[in-house]
């Protein structure tokens, strides 16, 4: 890398990369061009943006991330096996933002399930062609814009009509860099009418070199389909992650998301769910346990566009050390969305004097015949509960762990997949230092 490129800001580097690589990138050039222009106009968000009020991606990105990608170390099949939370999942590996077929599931996928490189699918698959960049609006967020402009790899997952896929599909993201890099994988998930599937996305980082992953997934849940979508974010202190999910839920469909964050120096989740068909249902669960100096920011938007739908959201957080957490949830009920039931709950425990939480649960409601509520509470450990446990001979340390565990369990118990639930329990135990 020449000194000239080092002096360039990330924005300039990305735009330069765009100009040189555009001809070789998949999909429509016009779409990428307009996204790049959108990004060029705004740049990365700063603290002055209402949506980025409490964290500062611009400052994080100034730590220095480049566009050159080189692996810190080779990832082996053993690594992949070790990083798989569920034994019988179909695993697809994304290293440094790039899909690696050699390490991925190579057997035969069941009827109705397709998982392939997005670059190929956008050219050959009509469903991918139809839905690609349909939901993610470049004008909405600069991270969407720059991903749309420059995405060069990722996965397309398709569940055909009436297909029920029992075994989960696992997207394993590993960031392992020789030089600090800005990574941009891009996924598209389409569950057709009456289809059912489970998708697990995990985010890992290996090695001491910083990475920033700007991952974007568009999720289409067609009529009467059901999708369980998990995100397990367990990066190390060098990992920075911005994960955007843009979901569209049609009539009678059910979309469940579970977001668990136990690691990473910086994690921002933008989860936007459009409820676009009658009697559709969405459940959003989240648990974040930041420690050290890490920052975790969960932004969710549930957009009720049609009548007779239901959404439910539960996010919980336990903050250790100097960590900082943000929860920003919005329920948006449009004029036509009568008979909406929408609930949101956010609960937090601060375990350290130096930790902080900023929470902003919002309701924006334009229909009158609705039942909407949100609640949030933040507090310390219940001293009486602690005392109770100690009078029964449990040491203070263990008593605290027990109580934190009980607090977190409400979210963990919402996970229907048993093997995954147990895995998440071990993640939490590891975080609390009980293992």
């Amino acid at each position: 890398m020449s000194t000239a490129t080092q002096a360039m800001t990330l924005k300039e580097q990305l735009l330069e990369k765009f100009e040189t690589e555009l001809p070789s990138l998949f999909g429509e050039a016009a779409l990428r061009r307009s996204a790049a222009q959108q990004f060029e106009a705004t740049g990365f968000p700063t603290r002055k943006w209402e949506d980025y009020k409490y964290i500062n991606p611009d400052a994080v990105l100034k730590k220095g991330f480049g566009t050159r990608i080189a692996a810190f170390r080779d990832i082996t099949a053993e690594d992949v096996a070790e990083l798989s939370p569920v034994k019988d999942a179909y695993v697809f590996v994304i290293i440094n933002g790039h899909f690696v077929p050699d390490l991925s599931f190579s057997g035969e996928l069941p009827d109705g399930l397709t998982v392939e490189s997005i670059a190929d699918a956008v050219v050959s698959d009509p469903a991918a062609k139809a839905h690609y960049a349909e939901l993610a609006d470049s004008a909405a967020d600069p991270f969407i814009a720059i991903n749309t402009a420059l995405a060069d790899s990722g996965l397309f997952m398709h569940i055909a009509q009436d297909s029920v896929i029992e075994r989960p599909v696992h997207f394993l993201h590993i960031a392992t860099n020789e030089v600090s890099a800005f990574l941009q994988p891009r996924h598209l998930v389409v569950a057709e009418t009456n289809a059912q599937a489970i998708l697990i996305e995990t985010f890992e980082s290996i090695g001491p070199v910083r990475s920033f992953t700007n991952v974007l997934a568009e999720v289409v849940v067609a009529d009467n389909a059901k999708l369980d979508h998990y995100r397990l974010q367990t990066e190390n202190e060098a990992g920075h992650l911005l994960s955007t999910v843009q979901a569209h839920v049609s009539a009678n469909a059910l979309y469940n998301t579970y977001t668990f964050t136990t690691g990473g120096a910086f994690v921002r989740n933008n989860l936007n769910v459009e409820i676009a068909g009658e009697h559709a249902e969405a459940h959003l669960y989240g648990l974040y346990l930041p420690s050290g100096n890490s920052v975790v920011d969960n932004h969710t938007l549930v957009d009720h566009q049609v009548p007779n739908c239901m959404s439910n959201e539960l996010y919980k957080g336990v903050m250790y050390d100097h960590s900082q957490a943000v929860f920003n949830g919005k329920i948006y009920v449009q004029r036509d969305a009568q008979k909406t039931n929408a609930f949101q709950n956010n609960k937090n425990i601060l375990l350290s004097d130096d930790a902080s939480i900023n929470t902003k649960p919002q309701l924006e409601i334009y229909a009158d015949d609705v039942k909407c509520s949100h609640g949030t509470s933040t507090g310390r450990m219940d001293e009486e509960a602690l005392f109770y446990l100690r009078t029964r001979g449990i040491g203070e340390d263990n008593a605290r762990k027990l109580l934190v565990n009980a607090f977190a369990e409400e979210v963990v118990n919402a996970v229907p997949h048993e093997e995954l639930r147990n895995y998440i329990d071990t993640l939490i135990a590891r975080r609390m230092g009980t293992v």
Partner: protein, 487 residues
């Protein structure tokens, strides 16, 4: 439930603004527009000392560097032309404090129509239950009643201009200490051009024997009202303060940008109640007052308390966040609000509770009611600073929607930087349940009365906080605004 079944809703949506009369008072104006000369003109008119003018000019110059804030509030209105407003309008016949006889009779009629006859006030001297009133019309404080009675206790209650002349040391000490002119766009504007307002000082250990009240009215066309209120409760003092607002009907929008500052010293307590009924504009949203107000109190001393109660039914646009800075240990902040929007009204209102001291407590109860095509937002901040041990907050924000063309929104900001803090926030949005109405119907209460009952109950928590004299007015306002307007 369809609207045609609901005559009172129709009637209310169609109802005219009751206070929409214009008083024919000879008024003196400043020329339209704003520049340093206007600031000097206002200061000169009021015969202000040099330091006051300096303060105004500093604020004006700072204001010039700012941009009109638009991006964050849930409000939609055309850009305000600050050069098309007259920044000073005063009744020409100079009202002196000496006797009521010198006050323009038209003006007295205005207040009579408003239901706060100063004549009556005077006759009531010596009667137990009474309220001292400082009436501000357009920009100038017209008459302060009961001044002598209060003076016996050492209480200073007068217009802001008088305070600048008679008690400059107090004004200089406290003005801008809670809301500095650098605070925000409208606070800067107000600091530059404020014309009058009320000033109140309760000395150590004095419990103010009566409710103090300010009545604001914008009368002249094309003017803005920029009043400034400063209330100081010294150690162990207590005062309950009321504020009422009305304006005549006009097609154009009028600007109201006030600043209210409250200081509570150790063991001091201030209770501030507002019934805001500025002209809300007509059914098409034409005209009405833009109400951009900065209200903030600081509990400086230990064990002090500031309580805001507001009933907001007027204004085309309301942008108002009465706040409390809880600096003293064990201090208490309260915010009780009923905000009603109808037709094309927009309100973005709430509070800020900033916990700095130890064992500080705050309570927020907000009830929003939206009807017609209006939008009603609660926006509130609860911040617990690092080191604010054992801070406690409870917030409850409920919204009622009446009809399917309006919006109700809740935007709480909760920032917690100390692990010993406990914060709870709840918000609900709903309409009146048909089962509730059915229950009342069953017991022989007709639908209209049932709705009145339920709405009254819905707001009770807040209305109960109002002083007796005001509660009556607020209930009357709500009965016009609310009863039966549920669909």
């Amino acid at each position: 439930m369809a609207a045609e079944q609901n005559p009172i809703l129709e009637e209310h949506i169609a109802s005219d603004y009751k206070y929409g009369f214009v008083s024919d008072i000879d008024t003196e104006f400043a020329p339209l527009g704003l520049n340093e000369d206007i600031v000097r003109f206002i200061s000169d008119k009021k015969n202000e000392p040099e330091w006051m003018l300096e303060y105004r000019l500093k604020a004006y110059r700072y204001w010039l560097t700012l941009e009109e804030p638009k991006h964050w509030a849930h409000l939609d209105y055309p850009k305000i032309d600050f050069q098309a407003i007259s920044y000073y309008a005063a009744p020409k016949k100079k009202a002196t404090v000496g006797s009521l006889d010198e006050v323009d009779p038209e003006l007295l009629k205005t207040f009579e129509k408003l239901g706060i006859s100063l004549e009556e006030q005077k006759r009531l001297v010596g009667v137990e239950s009474k309220i001292a009133v400082d009436a501000v019309i357009d920009s100038v404080s017209v008459k302060t009643t009961f001044k002598e009675v209060l003076a016996e206790k050492g209480i200073i209650f007068c217009s802001f201009s008088e305070a600048v002349q008679d008690h400059p040391e107090l004004v200089r000490q406290y003005m801008g200490s809670v809301v500095p002119y650098t605070d925000n766009y409208y606070a800067a504007l107000n600091s530059a051009v404020f014309s009058d307002g009320s000033f109140c000082y309760i000395p150590k250990g004095v419990r103010c024997p009566m409710e103090l009240s300010t009545y604001f009215r914008i009368n002249s066309a094309g003017t803005g009202q920029f009043e400034r209120t400063l209330i100081i409760a010294d150690e162990g003092a207590y005062v309950s303060y009321l504020e009422g607002c009305t304006a005549p009907q006009r097609d154009e929008n009028q600007l109201h940008a006030a600043v209210v500052e409250i200081i509570a010293q150790r063991d001091g307590e201030v209770k501030y109640s507002t019934v805001q009924n500025w002209y809300p504009g007509d059914k098409e949203g034409k005209g009405g007052i833009y109400n951009f107000v900065t209200k903030r109190g600081i509990c400086i001393g230990a064990n002090s308390k500031i309580s805001w109660t507001q009933v907001e039914t007027g204004s085309a646009i309301t942008w108002k966040y009465p706040s409390v800075i809880l600096k003293g240990d064990n201090s208490v902040g309260e915010f009780y609000s009923v905000a009603v929007t109808n037709n094309m009204q927009q309100a973005d209102t709430g509070t800020k509770m900033i916990h700095l001291g130890r064992n500080t407590r705050s309570t927020i109860i907000s009830k929003g009611i939206s009807a017609g095509f209006s939008n009603n937002s609660y926006r509130g901040l609860v911040r617990i600073a690092k080191g604010a041990k054992n801070a406690r907050n409870f917030s409850q924000c409920d919204s009622l929607l009446m009809g399917d063309k309006c919006g109700a929104h809740t935007f709480p900001y909760i920032e917690i930087n100390d692990k010993t803090g406990i914060v709870e926030h709840e918000a609900t949005t709903s309409k009146i349940g048909e089962d509730q109405i059915f229950y009342c119907n069953q017991r022989g209460i007709d639908t209209e009365k049932a709705i009145g009952l339920i709405v009254n109950g819905y707001c009770r928590e807040v209305l109960n906080q109002l002083p007796m004299e005001f509660a009556v007015e607020a209930q009357k306002l709500l009965s016009v605004s609310l009863e039966g307007s549920v669909g």
